[in-house]
């Protein structure tokens, strides 16, 4: 599903060159739930951004469904992100001036879908994460756990094959964190491929496979 070959990422300023990722080789199969762990600053988020086509590697190959995407245009990459990938972030990244329902609809705005079908899909996604009673609320009226569930609904509304979650439970207490993990496990059981960055060993153990990074290098 996602294949990374010899990925290297270097951040360069006028004075400093920082090697964020070095020789990363990962193959994530369809239906897998993979977690990525490592200390802060080891390149986990950078790796997730590269997998999610939000960032370009300095070197190496990315294949999504066996197709090379390095030469894709901005439009083609955006289409791929929109159709294939759902993102969940640690700090939710909801738009405070939009209602829960409108936030969840966002990925569908970049598809040719009618207002009614967008609305229906957003309602369905919110029902799936148990927030059907909060559709008209605004993000600042929700708890952290509820916000993350909205973010999950937004990630799954377009029915993507892959979900990339960057520390989805990082800002939540353990009870809320477990709730979110259970939703992700449920989505994985329904066939969604999930890659999750986490600091929590116990959560990582519940996934199929663990990738550890240290100073930008894949440890195992």
């Amino acid at each position: 599903m996602i294949t990374l070959n010899n990925i290297e990422k270097v951040y360069q300023t006028s004075t400093i060159e920082t090697l964020a990722l070095n020789n990363i080789n990962i193959d994530i199969k369809k239906g897998e739930f993979v977690s990525i762990m490592g200390p802060s600053g080891c390149g986990k988020s950078t790796l997730l951004n590269i997998m999610g086509l939000l960032d370009e590697p300095t070197k190496g190959e990315i294949l999504i469904d066996q197709k090379h995407v390095e030469q894709y245009t901005d439009k083609a990459l955006a289409l791929l992100r929109n159709q294939k990938i759902g993102f969940i972030f640690q700090s939710f990244h909801l738009i405070n001036d939009l209602s829960v329902l409108d936030n969840v609809e966002i990925p569908l705005l970049y598809r040719n879908s009618s207002a009614q079908s967008r609305r229906d899909a957003a309602r369905e996604a919110l029902e799936k994460v148990g927030l059907s009673n909060r559709m008209k609320h605004f993000p600042n009226q929700l708890s952290g756990g509820q916000k993350q569930r909205v973010a999950i609904a937004r990630a799954i509304v377009g029915k993507p094959d892959i979900i990339l979650a960057d520390e989805p439970t990082g800002n939540l207490d353990s009870a809320m964190g477990n709730e979110i993990l259970n939703i992700l496990l449920q989505l994985n059981a329904e066939g969604c491929t999930i890659v999750m960055v986490t600091h929590d060993e116990s959560m990582a153990k519940k996934t199929h496979r663990l990738i550890r990074l240290f100073d930008g290098t894949q440890v195992y």
Binding site: L54, D97, L98, D102, L109, A115
Partner: protein, 383 residues
């Protein structure tokens, strides 16, 4: 997408209120300026109805002289006609074309009346100004002995008094008879409206008014000096003043153009203010909304989608302002404020809308482009 943007702007209406007011004020001023410009241009497109090149107006003031003034003027006319430089000579009332003098009166016929500019002129007036007759003829001095005094009217007067009837040979309420109809007669210049005009025969040997002369091409200011000197010698104690109609026309134009320029400058400052406000607000907006831009890019928005979104948001804000402005602006054509044709206001509304949207698009373009170039991975990591 539009619905989504309207919702987003509406939910942020508090922070956009000042901008909406500013755009609304600019729209109203622009509407005023555009009404003025449209009105003047509309007038400008209509012909004057007469020729003024190489035409001079000679103003003779008797001052304290009361002795045989009619004879003196008759001699002056003879003298002027004798110059080889002079092609045609006419005598008319003081309200000569492009002068700042005006005479008007109500002309009526069978319970219909119209306020019309009145000109007293002799039989040569049409030749001096090269006025083309639309129907009928210009009056002659010999017509003065007729029972009904002859008059020439312009089409505007004919429309007001006769409607679709042919006015030639018909009499007015004061027994004057219409002998000719001319088309336009815009004595105050191209920028003025073509108002009803009415010409009647100047009494022969009249001591009043001005002498209008049409000169042969190539006649220069040397002749003016010679003319003033000669007339001064003939009319001792009188004041002789020669005015070029081309200069007088320019003065009339200035009267129309100055208010337009003043309003345009005010509108320009306001628009500049709005432009800077829009530019600044968008820059701040983009800085504040980097996270949102990152999220949208992650969710599948292309660079072009982000750019379009920010430009479209400005259009939505402008639309709110324009809609409020329209509530006021549409009253003008409906109520025919200032007695202007409603078409002038409609054109002004369309022009003001186009300028506002053009300005908003230009101001939104660069900041939106910057927003589109934001790297999602960086901004999502920052926040």
């Amino acid at each position: 997408m539009l619905q989504h943007l309207i919702k987003l702007i509406w939910n942020r209406k508090g922070s956009h209120l000042l901008l909406i007011i500013e755009i609304w004020a600019s729209f109203m001023v622009l509407f005023g300026v555009m009404s003025l410009v449209t009105f003047n241009l509309d007038n400008y497109r209509e012909s004057l109805g007469f020729e003024y090149e190489q035409v001079w107006a000679i103003d003779l003031s008797r001052n304290q002289d009361t002795v045989q003034t009619a004879d003196k003027i008759a001699k002056v006319l003879q003298r002027i006609k004798s110059y080889p430089e002079v092609e045609k000579v006419s005598q008319m009332s003081s309200n000569s074309p492009f002068s700042f003098s005006q005479m008007n009166s109500s002309i009526s016929r069978k319970k219909t009346s119209t306020l019309s500019d009145i000109y007293y002129a002799d039989e040569n007036f049409d030749e001096v100004f090269d006025i083309k007759m639309k129907s009928g003829r210009w009056y002659q001095s010999s017509d003065s002995v007729a029972k009904n005094k002859p008059v020439v009217i312009n089409q505007k007067t004919a429309d007001a008094l006769f409607g679709t009837e042919n006015p030639i040979g018909k009499t007015l309420d004061d027994n004057k008879i219409v002998v000719g109809v001319i088309d336009n007669f815009k004595a105050k210049g191209e920028f003025t409206k073509n108002e009803p005009a009415f010409f009647q025969l100047m009494w022969p040997r009249s001591e009043e008014g001005k002498i209008i002369i049409k000169l042969k091409s190539g006649t220069d200011a040397n002749f003016e000096a010679k003319l003033v000197k000669d007339l001064g010698n003939m009319l001792v104690g009188w004041t002789v003043e020669v005015s070029y109609l081309t200069d007088q026309r320019q003065n009339q134009h200035n009267m129309a153009l100055v208010p337009m320029i003043v309003f345009a400058i005010i509108a320009g400052f306001l628009l500049l203010n709005v432009a800077m406000g829009l530019f600044g607000i968008l820059k701040v907006n983009i800085a504040k909304r980097r996270e949102e831009i990152g999220v949208r890019r992650a969710m599948g928005a292309t660079e072009a989608d982000i750019q379009k979104q920010f430009v479209a948001e400005m259009w939505v804000i402008a639309t709110f302002a324009v809609l409020i402005g329209l509530l006021f602006a549409v009253q003008f054509p409906i109520l025919k404020v200032f007695d202007l044709a409603s078409g002038v206001y409609w054109v002004a509304i369309v022009l003001a809308i186009l300028i506002i949207y053009g300005l908003v698009t230009i101001c939104a373009f660069y900041p939106s482009r910057q927003a589109a170039k934001i790297q999602p991975a960086i901004v999502l990591h920052e926040s």
